[in-house]
Symmetry: C2
Subunit: 328 residues, 2 copies
Amino acid sequence: MSELPTKADAARESATDLLGPGEAVLTFDVGGTDTKSALIARDGRILGLRRTPTPRSDSDPAGVVIESVTALAATLRAHYPEEVPAAAGLSVPGLVDEAAGIARFASNLGWTDVPMHELAQRALALPVAFGHDVRAAGEAEARLGAARGFEDSIVIAIGTGIAGAIVLGGRPHSAHGYAAELGHTLADPNGERCPCGARGCLETIASAGAIARRYRAASGVKVAGAREVLAAAQSGDATARLIWSEAVTAIAEHLARLVATIAPQAIVIGGGLAEAGDALFVPLGRHLDDLLSFHRRPLLLKARFGDDAGLLGTALAARDLLAHGGVL
Amino acid sequence: MSELPTKADAARESATDLLGPGEAVLTFDVGGTDTKSALIARDGRILGLRRTPTPRSDSDPAGVVIESVTALAATLRAHYPEEVPAAAGLSVPGLVDEAAGIARFASNLGWTDVPMHELAQRALALPVAFGHDVRAAGEAEARLGAARGFEDSIVIAIGTGIAGAIVLGGRPHSAHGYAAELGHTLADPNGERCPCGARGCLETIASAGAIARRYRAASGVKVAGAREVLAAAQSGDATARLIWSEAVTAIAEHLARLVATIAPQAIVIGGGLAEAGDALFVPLGRHLDDLLSFHRRPLLLKARFGDDAGLLGTALAARDLLAHGGVL
């Protein structure tokens, strides 16, 4: 985990000036499978961006993540000695109380109520902006990406799971981490039990993971992911069509409810499922039109940054922290 | 409409100091059936509070309302010459763009895109704070009532229809009037068509109006309102129990979705249906508990002001207007 970035990683070093000039900061986006890390240079370039497996431990699930992040930080510092980071950003999945600095719960990583902010500050010996991965991605899309310029927007990331970020009046609405649980919102009261404990969560029907799992269960055919289910649907497989269409319907109903309650000007869809492009966006837009009446129809936009949104948003948070005096 | 307040009305004059000292303002809460009006004294007393029928006109639905409000204003001014109003508040139902000053749509009053703010300012010759009736009620509950002290709260008014107000970070979230359409949020994708044009809106299942209508349709028994349906359910009428329980279930599912997306600390329930008390709040709380897992369970609170919340919130808006220089 502490080897230098590979050639392929190095090729991803960005010369673009997305983030603009500012202090150098470290940025870590810890995901359920992989951790993305980079050093943001003073001129805004993204240096050493790489993806490493997120380590797991039953006995100390948060400790091994902090160790891994610390090792990644040491590698980045050693590789770019001219860019001395003044702060770091750390984002994690699950339920995150940003104000308290606590990672409350992550079903896939297995931690509960970890004082992640304090642990990270101590391990990195830097001020740390600690947050939620999808809220960070939402921030990146809101400030630099597809939702830029909209006062009220929602970002929904549909991958293995489903998570979201809500920006209202230009500011993220997090409610101490409890808001924007778009994947764990009731979709079907008679649906299956979700690992979170509730019944019929959107994630059990419409995540890329659920689409693959439901297709396997209904057809007996082994597929690696939602992409294969979509391909099967497009070549006329009736089961695949049904599973895909149920997912699109559940997402459309969910978006319709968000429109009636929050009324965002734009809904940005990211995550692996957004890569389906028109196969997702066209039927989704049509369904949504059918479900709305006087409501304000939001723009449905594909996320700009794809997989790197969380890392960028986390870097923004680290820069923000310094702009606000270096304390969270 | 221009007679003086009756003795019964006068008895409602409030000596309490809810609104506190400030400028004298007129306040009008135009409802689908009745209009409530009052003069707020400089010491905060509510003077001449009364309820008059909201006039209807097919040819000029907004004009007759403005005429009626103007006449009510004249009566209040004549009756309390020592309290010279410096501004007025006017709230109306339906879809309201407060920032633009436009009453966009009210299905029961029959108007579309009326520049109500300008019309009212001209007719009353006063600066007017123009807004939405339930958002005004939400403001009153948030600042003076049941939701006071909560950063994030939702007020849902369940009467003939269902409407809501959302307060986030202590500020109302209206999205130019399109937000908080809690009654016109999808409850049942296979439900009946709503007069708004969408299908299966919460209002078609769970409003007091819908409960009475659905019971009449299912049983053939004429009932005047939801109160009678509840009484029938409590004395063992199976049809009434079913209709009541479907309404409670639909509200609980709706609240569960609001919890997962917005995560309010408190949900305040007002309107006629809230008068059912425990018969509503107990099963609703139980249903909500069943539907949530790691989510933050909000407090379910009964609205403090009942029917007068809209009038009070409208008065607050008029006072706010003056505090901000007298222009909207």
